[in-house]
Structure formats: C-alpha cells, structure tokens
Symmetry: C2
Subunit: 517 residues, 2 copies
Amino acid sequence: MKKELLFCPLGGSGEIGMNMNLFGYGEPGNHKWIMVDIGVTFADDTIPGIDLIYPDPGFIVERKDNLLGIILTHAHEDHIGAIAHLWPKLKCKIFATPFTEYITLTHSILEPNGLRIKTPAGVVLHTGDWKVDPNPLIGDEINAKRLKEIGDEGVLAMICDSTNVFSAGRSGSELDVRKNLLNIMGRLKKRIIVTSFASNVARMETAFYCAEQTGRQISLVGRSMHRIYKAARQCGYLQNTIDPIDPREAKNFAREKIVYLCTGSQGEPMGAMMRISNYTHPDVFIEKGDAVIFSSKIIPGNEKKLYKLHNQLVKDGIEVISEETEFIHVSGHPNREDLKDMYQWVKPKCVIPVHGEHRHMIEHINFAKEMQVPHPVQVENGDIVKLYPGEAPEVYDKAPSGRLYLDGNVSVEEDSQSIKDRKNLSSNGYLEVTILITPKGNIHNNPVTTFRGLPIYEKDEFLYGLEDEIEKTTRFFKLGNRQQESNLIDALKIACRKFTKEKTGKRPYTNINLVRI
Amino acid sequence: MKKELLFCPLGGSGEIGMNMNLFGYGEPGNHKWIMVDIGVTFADDTIPGIDLIYPDPGFIVERKDNLLGIILTHAHEDHIGAIAHLWPKLKCKIFATPFTEYITLTHSILEPNGLRIKTPAGVVLHTGDWKVDPNPLIGDEINAKRLKEIGDEGVLAMICDSTNVFSAGRSGSELDVRKNLLNIMGRLKKRIIVTSFASNVARMETAFYCAEQTGRQISLVGRSMHRIYKAARQCGYLQNTIDPIDPREAKNFAREKIVYLCTGSQGEPMGAMMRISNYTHPDVFIEKGDAVIFSSKIIPGNEKKLYKLHNQLVKDGIEVISEETEFIHVSGHPNREDLKDMYQWVKPKCVIPVHGEHRHMIEHINFAKEMQVPHPVQVENGDIVKLYPGEAPEVYDKAPSGRLYLDGNVSVEEDSQSIKDRKNLSSNGYLEVTILITPKGNIHNNPVTTFRGLPIYEKDEFLYGLEDEIEKTTRFFKLGNRQQESNLIDALKIACRKFTKEKTGKRPYTNINLVRI
C-alpha cells in the first residue's frame, strides 16, 4: 500500500492555547507518529473549580506504541504545560527525532524553534510560535537564510501560527520597546513598578538595562520572576546586567532610586501586582506619584480584571502606563508583514493555519489565498489532513478530540457531572434534609436540616417554617411503604424548594434523606 | 445659616453602570434632595447566582422625607433599572420637578435628556448620557442653541458623561452607520441577520430602511425586539417603515429576500443570536454563505463570549461583520471632540466627571484641565461635593455607599455570606455527613453521607473508604459527652476533608451532623 503523510491537530486549532499537533507517516492503518507540543490552557470563571484544561489525547493514547516521541518547540505553558498530566498515559521519549531539525526563530521567550520535518513524502515546516524580530536582544535572529534554503528545496506543507493575522504591519522589535521604556523611565521621578510575563527574558533584561541607565536599583518581585531569572542565568543569559536587590533591602532606597519588576501583569488575584495595588504586599509599597508600567499584552478575557487593577491605582494618584497608551510591548507572534516574509522564504505548496480561534484561522486561510498558496487547508481540532499522496492536501477523516479538565487531581470531561453540579450550586446553593423514621413508621424528632449559599438572615424562622412544610407534606404519606416513601421524597423536595423559593427567591439543589432507625 | 448646594453620586462614579446621583440644597443638616437616575448593572460569572447589582441607597433612604423626587434622564437599564427594587424604600414621586428643565440631547436611545437644575445658588447642568449627532435619524438634534443660552447665563457646575473620554475625534452619526449598512447589505447575496440592542430605535429603523431598499422583508426575533418595536410605534416613531413579518412566515421567503433583526448582540447564552448560531432557534435557520452583522459595541468583559459566538459562525462558513472590521456602529457617548463642543457651549466653572470607571474619570479631569475649566473635581461613589458656597467646589464629606446584589429576591451586601458560600461550593463542592447516636452513646447504623460537585466515579468505593475513616476517627471519642462531641465534629471534618482530598484533590465544604436518637 502507498504510504501516507498525515497531520492532525488535537489542540490549539479553534482555540488559543493547549497546542497539540500530530504528524503521522506510513501505510494506512499503520502510521508512525510524532507529537509536536503538548500544552495547556487556563480556565476562567465560567468553569468553577477548574484551573487547567488540556486536549483529550485519546486518539494518540490508542496509538502510543507507534508514537516516536514528543517534540517541544518552546517552553510556554500553552506548548508544554500538559506534559506532567498526559505523559503518564504516553510514556514516550521527549526529544528531537533524527528526521527533525530545529530552525532558530524569534518569539517572546528564549529559544523558540521551528521544525523542519523531513519525510520520504516531502518536507513539512512546523513554525511553532514565532515573529520576525531583527533585534530580539537576547538569542539569535530569525534564521531567514536557512528558511530560504528549506524553501528552495521545496516544502510540501507549512503549519503556521495564526495569532496575529488580524494585525497589519509588523509585530515590532524588542529593541524598540527598550528604547521607549528607557525614555519613559527617564522622565518618571518617583517609584517605578514594571510588570510583565516572567518568561519574557528579553523584557526582563530591558528592565535591568533601563534601571541601570536611569541610575536605579532593580528588585524582582514574585516567585516566577525569581525562578526565571535563575534559570536564564544558568543558561548563560543575563550575564552583563546589574544584580537585583532583595525587595526587603529595596525599601531602604529612596523611591526615585528603585525599579521593581513584578509578576501579575494580567491582574491575577494573587499576583504580586494585585497585592501591591491592594497595599497588602509585605515588601513593596506604592503611593501617590509612583508609576506602574504594564509591559505586556491584555490577554482577551482579562480586560475587566485588569481595568479593575488600573482603576484601583489611578484613583490613588498612581500613574498607569499600558500598551493602550504607550508603545511598551510587542507581541511574540507574526503580524501580516511577518507572515508575508515567512511565506516568501518558505514558498509552501500547502498552508495549514493553526494556533488560533476559528476566526483567526479563517482569516489566515484568506491571507494564504492572497499569497497565492496553491492549497490552504482549513482545520479544526481532530481533523486529519492527508498531506500526501493525493491531488491536493485535504481533510479526509476525523480523530476524536476534546478538552479535559483537571478537577482536583482527576481528569474529567467537559460535560462532567461534578462541574455541572458545582455550577448549579454556585447559582442556587443547597438544602439537605434528613428525616429519621422509627421502626413503627413514625417520624423521629425534628428533621435535620442544613443549607448553604442561601440569602437567609432569620435562620430560625426559616427552619421553623420549613419544618412546618415538611410536617404538612409528610402527613399524607404512609411511612414504611417503600413506594410511598419514594413518592414522599419527591413531594418533600418540591415542598422544600417551593418554600425556599417563596422566602428567598432561590431554588436550591435539594436532597432529602429518609433514614430508618 | 448659609444654604449649601451639594452633589453626591451614589452609583456610576468609579464603575460603568448603576447610575445614581443626588443633588441637595438647603441649610447644613437640612437639605432638600433630588435624585437623578436610579440604575442597575449586571453581574458576571465572578459573582455566581447574581444577575442584578444596584447602589446601596441607605444615605438617601435615611433622608427620604427630604427627597423631592427621582428624575430619570432616559430609559437605559443603567439609569432606570433599580426603580422596581429601590422605590419601595423611597416611595417618592418620579417626575421632573419645577426647578428642572429637560434639554434635548442625542444618544443611542429615544429621548435622552440633560437636566438644567436651577437653584438659588446657581445653575447645574447634568448631562446624563449624550453625544453630538448632527443626524440622529430619530428624535431631535442636540439643542446646541439652548445649551449655549444656558452657558451664557452662567453654569456653576456641569456633571458630565465620561464613557468615551479615551476616544479621539467624534463618536459619529447614525446617518453614517445607515449609509454603510446599506452598502454592506446591498452586496450580501444570502440571508442577513442583524443583531443590535433593541433599545436603539434609530438602528432598528435603519434595519427596516435597509431591508426595504435592498428588496427584502424584515422579521424581528427576540422578545425585547418586539417589545421595543411596539413601544416605539405607540410613541409615534417608526411610522413610515415597512411592516415586519413573523419569523415563522419568514421561513417561506428565499434566503436572499429576508433580513432578521435579533437580540443577543453580546453573545448572551439565551439570546436569539446564540440560539440561532447553535442551530437551536425554532424559527431562524442559518447556513453557509449567510451573513451576521453585529451592529453593536463589544461591551468590555463580553469579549470571550462574543468571540466564541463569532467562531461558531465563521467555522461553518457564515460571514461575520462586526465593528472590528466595518463601520457599522456608533457609540451613544461623547468622544473628545463632542466633549469639547459641550464645554464650549456650557462654559462651566466646575466640571464633575461621572459615568465612568476611575480611569475614565481621571482622564476626564485631565481633559477638563486642558479645556481651562477652573474647577474640575474628581469624585467617586459616596463623595459629597459642596458646589456652593465656598472658594471652589470640593469634596468635603463622604456618604455611605456601596453595591447591593439581588440574590434571589433578597437584597444582600457585597460580602454576603450566601455569595461567599456559593463561591466556595462552586470551587470545592460539598460533603454532608450525619451520624446518629443512640441513647447509650453508640453510633447507630452507618453514617448518612451525601456529596455534590466532586469528581468521584466510584461512588461506593469512595463511601466505603469514607465510612472507614469516620469509624476510625470516632473510636477515640466518648459519645454522650458534649465537649467530646464538639471535638469529634472537628476531628471528623478534618478526617473527611483529608480523605476526600487524597481521593479527588478537592477539599469540599464539609458539614458534620451528630444527631441523638
């Protein structure tokens, strides 16, 4: 049988985050697979009690004997965060396989890599996350020469980042951010707090550089800031910067002589920035006349949280500088002009947009058409594209796909009962009634009633009223008869909910226990 | 004693929504008050089980005998929505008092009014919500002549809308939206669905007009669309438009011959637009090649919900047209050039920015300074500004203020136990254990255990394990002794939570009942 080359995204195609891409090569029904990236995404308040979400790996778990390994393009959570949770099901090597070669790109993290995947059917270029940054400050420039060589050899398909496809022009350079931050920090006269993603080490270096240039000390605040600083130093970066000082020591410096670089740039409730703005941080004080620089993106969905933080600061006379008002951040993803470069270097026969919501990927398909790419292919999670053989690459099958939620330490499905129940509890609260029945079929004592999450201020009054309802309802049933007891439970549930609705307007989740003693 | 003129916002100053403003005049300690607007705001997923939020009216409730009345500037929910909930505590007239006069403004609703409040201490202009629209399409133009007259007579203070103070230029005209919508609808070949706020009757008229001009029927979808259409007709508007047809009838028309105007422009889960995009709407079908026009703003905080809706549509080949890609919406609030007009007409001695978050109001203060206003005054909810007498208006006292949540039918405070408990339940679920103790101090039968919201798939196994823990814990306590029983409850709570944490990773809210039989 003729061998095939397949591509299948299990995550990240149709949503931002949790990237997981599969490439398969071999005879139909007997492919060898590699997985590129294995990321997570973070839950919001619409999914209570859940932090982490990752792709359902079922399709590849079933084929794990044919999984050659997992290749990680770079160290952002949306590309590596699910290793700890999913690797036990795969138990494969995590590595760069012999038919893969890393090509240096630029992004908002150290060492972002594209993959050239060479197969007997042809070469596939998987970009990972990238941008064109002529001055990345840290790490090498994008390897345009190598990308052109690859293009000249012929590329069957390019799997490409879609994040910024709605943004015209270029995503810009870290160097320009540095120049502008230096200007801004030069004019600020009091305490400066810069907040950004810890993983953006070039930005970290910029903060150190600007502090030094403006005659200030720098102090790191927040656990991941310290962790990344240490890791970057161990990898040989940040060798020529000033030494940071401890925040407790920093308190001894005049406010115009210090810069704090801190976590919490997205308004995370427990992040350093939120605690500083709440005046609950043990080591960092902020006061009228100080300035906070948000050197980071406002991640969609975080607007309200972040504006709340801005409001808290400005109302106390603290200046807020953000990407909305100044050029102090560049994205790590390619804008349209950057994409154009990549397309012209690589000249792929087929482009498959990934790393985006549907609206990004469809815009990217339109962009690829403008770029005269012969075969743009629109995919979503689970789509299996046959890249070779065939007239043209196309989606020809569907792998099972979906999202798994980490609930406590249990992996649950999107429609899990535990989450449904908690959503119900979060809106309505609960009411538990336990009724004891004597061997003679009488009710023993008062029912045991507990509730939670109901707006009840006169608890005793509520409970007396509820007991009356229970007593009235019970009167019509003969206890000791199983069928009647089951009907009684239903009747009590209705009566208790009705009474609670009248008193509070809420319909709690209601559980009735009948217990024989 | 010298009489004073006071201003105090109880809502809307420091947040978007729930506007409530008080003006007081009289001797210190004996002011007569008027209230301007009494609005609500809507809760998001961070406050589970709550829909409506309104200002705590305690300050004015205590003074209700001196409350002359409530004046409503216009019919948006953020200006009138709390009447039903708060009026019973105030029982005052709702009217335009003799010392008030309405000035016609333009906004995104019919009949927006500014108030000229004439007092012996001077004139105050309260703008309400407004913009400068030279072609509002429905309703009169902004009464610039009257505003200039008022300005010429001298204005002590202007209380002014801050919503769009970050936006340069003008907010634009409904007429331009109409022209552009007509162009867009002219080029669309299949079914068209327009979604916008029902209360924007000018936009509604535009949809009717464009349908007629492009040879299509129009059909209204969603309850509030019908309600507002009827109300507008009763008030004498929409007299020269085509008649809408019933959505059930609309199904009989070819898809290129129909426009639907529907609710749910913010991606509301139960809104018509969401149900249409889910293919669960009983009367409106949508298919590949159709187009959805979101002729409305993306309200901050709704981005994720709305993008989800966009994604759902575009992935099925439906074109999405929104304010991000086309000029199909104008704001009802004044941009900076509009504000400049108002400042120049009114020439107030003092400006108090309201209707905004802190960041908007502080930017508005800076704007007022640029406009050479002698006395811009920064306020937040509860601030009492003395407008007269004195050298210059200033905040001189603080009224109690806050937010009340409508929880079921009960008004609760922001830190209410019911909401705290539901948040806890929504993250952690609950576990209830009832243990029956015989008169001799023995445990009767097995404990009665119920739980909810926990990721437990082997229920029996979990319960057996839990019962073992309970049995082990109970062994060390002497039942029948009250102090020991109280310690036992604590010990059981700890043991049950620990066991559940081990099995599921969750720490549920845990309640232990010891019941004597």
